[in-house]
Symmetry: C2
Subunit: 171 residues, 2 copies
DNA sequence: CCTATTTGATTCCGATTTGAACTACATATA
DNA sequence: TATATGTAGTTCAAATCGGAATCAAATAGG
């Protein structure tokens, strides 16, 4: 360990017990919730959580369609990951690609009727699962605080561009 | 859509605006935080967040060692994923495998001195990053509530075995 | 003691993810 | 207009992951 390391370490403000509890809780909840949601969607519908989110985003957008990069920012995934996922969704016929008239480089992902249908079939069970896994553990007050706190974390981080992709957004 | 689907959908208790905000905030924070932490560790230390957690768990355990399955439960990953990650950590010399004396099927992951060192070098920067990304966005009150709420979500889910692995734990 | 079942861990294979090219088009600048 | 630079999206190879199959060892039940 260098002298600088030592200096840094000595100056480090370690996490308090309360902070540690919050941080530990966060990543445990993260794993556990994402896992449960994904497993539920996959077993009931054969959809990954990511694919579901894509369908959901598209369904809530005008023309049921979005530019690839916009969609990538909305679901917070890399462009190459989105390319792959949309390709999968295209194979099942839930999404279709169209070329962008205004920008010939662009591609537009469009939710098909079949995709819309699948989303409608998947949604009730999904919401049930979210309630079971997430909300059933929370008091109404906690829900409010979580909303503020987590939104604040996300927005803040999306401000500071993380040195890499996925900036913009912030509507 | 079948009649049953329709019935289910009609009965579905959709998310309120407040709930939607909390849920949306949760998964946006999830993506954003995990991404930032991982990117930070990877660029500064060449470690994934998962690998860091393994080192951290081991360092806090007696003998700096844990049975593979115990470790898997603690960091909430599948066994095959842990096998892979520990193998990676073995290549860099941060972790060593020992055979379990009491149970010849078992394997024990042990944090080496080199690994301990690496952890000490990585920790201060990691904590700084956690503060920057997570705590700087929160008030002290929010930290407390988050601690309760998220711990509750995680514990609850770990109770109900998710039909699949990673039960036990709950110390 | 001997078979049947369970458990700990790894292996294997296919699916997914990443980041670095790469292609094609768009925009700015001179 | 020509050149340079930036942007949208995909592709490619390598890394990672999940889950079923596998192997060895432990444990249960007769």
């Amino acid at each position: 360990m260098t002298t600088e390391d030592r200096r840094r370490e000595d100056e480090t403000e370690w996490l308090s017990e309360t902070e540690m509890r919050a941080w530990l809780g966060f990543w445990r909840a993260m794993r556990v919730v994402d896992d449960a949601i994904d497993r539920d969607l996959r077993s009931r519908m054969g959809l990954s959580h990511g694919e579901y989110q894509i369908l959901a985003m598209l369904s809530a957008s005008p023309e049921r369609s979005l530019r690839m990069s916009t969609l990538a920012n909305m679901v917070l995934v890399t462009r190459s990951r989105l390319t792959y996922q949309v390709t999968q969704l295209e194979k099942t016929g839930f999404v279709r690609r169209e070329e962008c008239p205004s920008d010939k480089r662009g591609a537009i992902a469009v939710l098909t009727d079949k995709g819309m249908n699948e989303l409608h079939r998947a949604a009730p069970g999904h919401v049930e699962c979210v309630r079971r896994v997430f909300f059933d553990a929370l008091t109404p007050e906690q829900v409010v605080v979580l909303g503020d706190a987590l939104t604040s974390i996300a927005d803040r981080q999306l401000q500071h561009p993380p040195t890499n992709q996925a900036p913009s957004e912030v509507p």
